[in-house]
Symmetry: C2
Subunit: 351 residues, 2 copies
């Protein structure tokens, strides 16, 4: 069988060398571009490269020490709008810095997370970015500390992005955003409208993101000398469906409240629909607020008052900080600020 251009066997540098009538080293040098090569030789080599449609194997280059660096991004589910924005930030910054970007979804399974990190270590990824809150157990800290050590010993670096920090000493870069502060300001705003019974809706009970926001909720109450009713904390998860279901349930149980603060905008969206379905108006009958400021928040009706989180910036910073880290330098811990975006979904409680 004769070789034609559509042949499925990738050509090697030696094929190019043979066709150009030079040695492999020369081809490598021509392609490298720094070593002096005569114009004639360069021409012959380039022609052979073109004719064979040759591209050097990036993996082989990597083994030889001149590869494109890679960076890995591990999250629970790319489908969530805030995760998607982080991913976008990570990806943009990675390509800006000439890195390739591997992505893995864990689907919330810790085993997958461990497997992925191990694979990334094998890939010699420059950094592994772990994204999104989680349950902050001793087991989590220990497991993640081990990951961090393991990656560090392989010359890589673990980044926790919106995820609880570890004990000091773990070689880890932490980029967080202020869940507690944002929720504090938001709930203070709600309370300032005169609300006294505020439902906190959604979020897994042991999840640091939900927990941080809950702390802000409680602190805002305490700052006003109020002690919130514990029965007003309704847990579930972070989905739209959870918001919908929990809201329906709260209404069916005739829970006494005049405002709802949802753990995320997704939850708020579901809750809003449940309120509408029950014939209630927002903010006339019930006020509603979210968290995340996803693009859709302003298209809910009424437009959702929420907390803006600079997710894309978070992703970008994660990459930059991790790649700028030099071994031995102190570990970075950044906390990004958030701010409340006041729209139309929070008003005074009904008279």
């Amino acid at each position: 069988m004769t070789r034609k251009s559509g042949d499925a066997s990738r050509s090697t540098i030696r094929d190019v060398a043979a066709r150009a009538g030079v040695s492999a080293s020369t081809v490598s040098r021509v392609l490298g571009g720094v070593y002096p090569v005569s114009a004639a030789t360069r021409g012959r080599v380039m022609r052979a490269v073109r004719e064979l449609d040759y591209v050097a194997d990036a993996r082989a280059k990597a083994v030889a020490g001149v590869g494109t660096p890679t960076l890995a991004f591990v999250l629970e589910d790319i489908t969530g709008p805030s995760f998607a924005h982080m991913a976008h930030g990570v990806e943009r910054e990675a390509t800006r810095l000439g890195h390739l970007c591997l992505v893995c979804s864990t689907e919330g399974d810790v085993r997958h997370e461990l497997e992925f990190v191990e694979m990334m270590r094998a890939q010699r990824a420059a950094a592994v970015i772990l994204v999104g809150g989680t349950a902050d157990t001793p087991e989590y800290r220990e497991r993640t500390h081990r990951m961090a050590d393991s990656l560090a010993s392989a010359g890589s670096r673990l980044v926790l992005c919106g995820r609880p920090p570890l004990d000091p000493g773990a070689p880890v870069t932490v980029i967080e955003y202020d869940n507690e502060g944002g929720a504090y300001t938001l709930v203070a705003h709600v309370l300032a409208q005169g609300h006294r019974r505020v439902l906190f809706l959604g979020g897994r009970a042991d999840h640091t993101t939900a927990l941080g926001r809950e702390r802000g909720y409680l602190a805002a109450h305490r700052a006003r000398g109020l002690t919130p009713d514990p029965s007003l904390l309704l847990h579930g998860d972070f989905t739209r469906d959870a918001g919908h279901r929990l809201m329906q349930q709260a209404l069916k149980e005739n829970l006494d409240f005049t405002a709802v603060v949802a753990a995320t905008d997704m939850v708020a969206a579901g809750a809003l629909t449940a309120l509408h379905e029950a014939g209630l108006t927002v903010p006339g009958d019930v006020s509603l607020a979210g968290y995340d400021d996803i693009p859709f928040a302003r298209d809910l009706h009424p437009a959702l008052t929420t907390v803006h989180v600079p997710y894309e910036e978070l992703g970008r910073l994660a990459v930059r900080t991790a790649l700028e880290h030099t071994p031995g330098a102190p570990d970075e811990h950044l906390l990004l600020g958030t701010h409340v975006v006041v729209r139309d979904s929070v008003g005074a409680p009904p008279a």
Copy 2:
């Protein structure tokens, strides 16, 4: 300086071999797991592996021909909900099949697209999945045909996912979904309610996704013996902001219409807000429909009537079909069906 466990120099298979007092081949065989190795030797090797926290370099393995296969996913912007769902499908199926998943955003720049494809060829990716509609120009077809050949000759495969197919003969797998059919059914539904002047809103004028939906819009009119007013086609892009802006503009110009079909749910969301801002009710004064059935569609108020597209399935199929493809086999071209989801945003025109 003494070596401690936190040392940043990754250990090689020879380090492990030395520590276990065996040869590198033996370590490789122990880790490979197939070749017979005595229990004692295996124990020593495994201990050394554990002590050094050794992981074989995946790139070196790849060069030697036993690597983890990789697959690449190239899209415009992971932030769009439909793209995110496709990405999710791709990622899930990829990991299910034991593949790593590289992701790149082109930000709509053709040069980035070319660069990425070239990089993926260098990475020896098993498949490169190009996602999302585009302008279907001769230049596009030629350029993409070259990509396809180039990838094929490197033993890889190009997949077009929701993107216009090429001339026959291009070694490419195409997975599309039915834009025209979905829009046809949707617009037929709108017309059946009695609407006669239906605005088509958003979508880049030369973009195949918008174009397909527009064709469905036109066909549905023709099927009823209607000729739509060309001034009712308003182009922009696929963002929420475009929907908002175009709708405002249409209202300001006093365009005569009783229903709006948006190019995407995102556009519809922006349009809905503009309608609300203008004091119009939906569907009382104006009916509104979207396309994509993103999760948020049901939380708009009124819940959005739209066309469901199986995006996640699309991503999964793209991966499976591409990886199952054997060189020389005929090229696949799949067309996935869509269906209308009737909610509350389309009603009869005002009397």
